[in-house]
Structures are given as structure tokens and as C-alpha cells.
Amino acid sequence: METTTISLVTIIAEGVLRERLLEDLKRLGARGWTIGEVHGHGIRGISEYFWAGSQVRIETLVSPAVGEKILAHLQEHYFTDYSVTAFVHDVRVVRPERYV
């Protein structure tokens, strides 16, 4: 199986940011995403207050360059005020042209 290495960016964020983050991702060059509902706990503890809604866990497969841009964007616009956690690592896919 011939595979290509691309980046998987995972973002965990407060539910209220859902739509805004997806628009951002699109603008930054992501061509798809997968979203799950999660709960969590961190140093800020926001998610404990928002009892009526859960957090979102967004995964997006992107080129390494777009991955960097996403992290930089989160850093600039969200990390200070919002409860957002993000991490990135390499994965191998078939058909990279679908994602990058």
C-alpha cells in the first residue's frame, strides 16, 4: 500500500466555538474534518461550567504547512481567552490528494 505522510491536527474546544472554528479551518485550507462530542478538564476548567453543552473534538487531516497555519491561528486568536487544546502529529494516508 503506497501511503503519504500528512499532518493530523486535533483541536479540543468549548462547544460555543464550533461554528467559528470550522469556518476558520476552511479558510486556512482544511478540506474536511471530523467532529466528536467530548467532556474534559484542564487548568482553566471552563468545561465544568458549561453544563448544558459539551466540548467538541475536531480532527482535520491537512498538509504540514496548513497544520502550522492552524496552530498559529489558534495561538493568535484563541489560546489566551478560550479553553482550547490542540496537538498535531504525522499520520499516513492513501489518496493524499483528498486532504491537502
Binding site: 460555543v16 467559528r20 471552563i46 461550567y49 458549561f50 453544563w51 448544558a52
Partner: protein, 340 residues
Amino acid sequence: MELAETLGILQRNLFSPLTLAFVLGMIATLVKSDIEFPEQAYKFIAFYLMFAIGLNGGVELAGTTFQTFAWPALVTIFLAILLPTACYFILRTVFRFDVANAAGVAALYGSVSSVTFAAGIGVVETANIGYEGFIPTLAALAEWGIIVALFWGRLGLKTPNDAIGKVVQETLTGRSVILLMGGLLIGAIIGEKGFERIAVVFSQGPEGLFRGVLVLFLIEMGMVAARQLREFARVGPRMLAFGTAMPVVMGVLGATLGALSGLSLGGAFILAAIAGSASYIDAPAAVRATFPQANPSIYLTSSLGITLPFNLLIGLPVLYAYTQWLCYSVVGCAVLPAGG
């Protein structure tokens, strides 16, 4: 009206299944029971309650003239401007809150809690009197308080108010507003006759599910409130004072203006419940999106952990006693028959 009578109302309220259910929920959380109310059941019931309130109102709407509606509506709009504004400036000057936190708390206290609103309707039903059919409209208008609070916050932070269009759109199409107004319109169109065939599901009287479903819902709300109560230490005595005094002050204002605007006893009291309540879902979400720097442990704990239980246990009966006194001894407002 004597003290004895007020105490009687307090007691009757405390022994109503609605209040007892709320207390049961609080106790369940405090003893760390593993009892669990499914999230989607919560959301579905909230959906049902708002729609049913609208529908019941709509059915009663027949015969309402523009005159009887205009003054209460104006009064409610006035409250939706006054209450968040007053909260904001009290918090800024007396409490020395920063802009974001002041605006955040003001948004919650300046708008409406669906549960307190529904519980207010429950109190009226318990007292076996009626209220004006257009009351759901007033609740929808009162939601505009969110916009006013966010406006003050943006002004204080000197952030451009251009994004306020989005907040206005979201408030106008918020779930409570759509369900209340949608229900109202449908109720008005189908009338008594169309309602009869769906009354088992929607009626607020003893023949319908409304009251029993509200009992179940209040168990869950008691659990939620008790969870926030635990955060109380972080909020401190100042917010305790705010969270218990504000609902009474705002409620008294609501009842007084309501009665003066021509509302019946039941209607004026429900307007008091609307004014005296603090939102705990819609406004917090708007605040979180607009002022992320405001501290949710302040605004949510006050609204959910202090004001909600206070209102359900003490605030509503006190406001009911006040409205009764006002209506009987001062204004002489009408008393509508139950379900009419």
C-alpha cells in the same frame, strides 16, 4: 395583606411538588447520588415546555385587543433596557467589577430563565388563577436584555459594535423566542377547538402533561443548581448578596410596572418572575462568545447556584405575596379565571 398570609403563600409554595422536586434534585447531588438525568431528555423537555407555554398563551389570545397588549409590551421593553443597564452600572461602580465581568453578569440578570418563568406559571396554576394569553410575548421581549448588556460591555471595552448584528439576530431567533412565539401563533390559529385534541400533551391544567413534566424537569434543575452551589466559595458573599437581592428588586419592579400597565394579578406576577430571573443557558453562551475574558465562575455560579434556587424557594412566593398585596390593596388589577 398580613405577614401570616405571606407566610401561608411561602409555605404553600414550599410544599408544592414543583419546589419539592427541585429540593430533591439538590439533595441528590449533595449526597453524591449517581442519579442521572439524560442530557437529551433535558433538552427535549426544555423544548416542550417553551412550546407548550406559547401554545397555551396563544389559545387564550382570542379577544385580546391591541390596547390591553400595548402597555405591558412597552413596559417589558423598558425593563429589558433598564434591568441590564442597572445591573451593569451597579456592578461597575458598587462592586468595582471590570467591564467584561460586569457586562457578563448583567446579560444573565437582564434576561430570562426559562425554568423560573415556567415555575412562575406553575405558581399561578397552583393559585388557581389565570393570566393573559400574550404573556409568552413578554418573555420573548425580555430576552432582549442580553443585547443591551452586551452593548454596554462592548462600549466599555471600546470594541467595535459591528458584530452586534449577529447577537441581535441570534437573540431574535433564539430557541426560546422561536418556540414561545411559534407556539403562540399556532395556538392563536387553532383556537380552543383545535387545542382540545392535543390538550393532553400541552395543557397546563390538570388534564395535561405540563405540570408533571415540569416536576421531572425541576429534579434535574435542582441537581444542576447544587453542582454550581459547590462553587459558591469562589464567588463570595458579595455575589450572594447580589444574587438574592437583585431578583427581589427586579421582580418587584416587574410586578409594579406590570400591574400599572394593566396586567391581571397572574400576569403581573409572571412578569415579576421574568424580570427577577437570571438566564443560565442562552445568555451565558452569548457572554462566553462575546466576552471570553469574563469569568464564568462568577456569572454562572451566581445565576445558577444562587439566584435560581433562591427564586424557586423564596423569591417566587415572596413576589407572589407582593403582587397579591399590590393588586388587592393598591392597583386593583383584575384576577383572571384559571385556564382563561
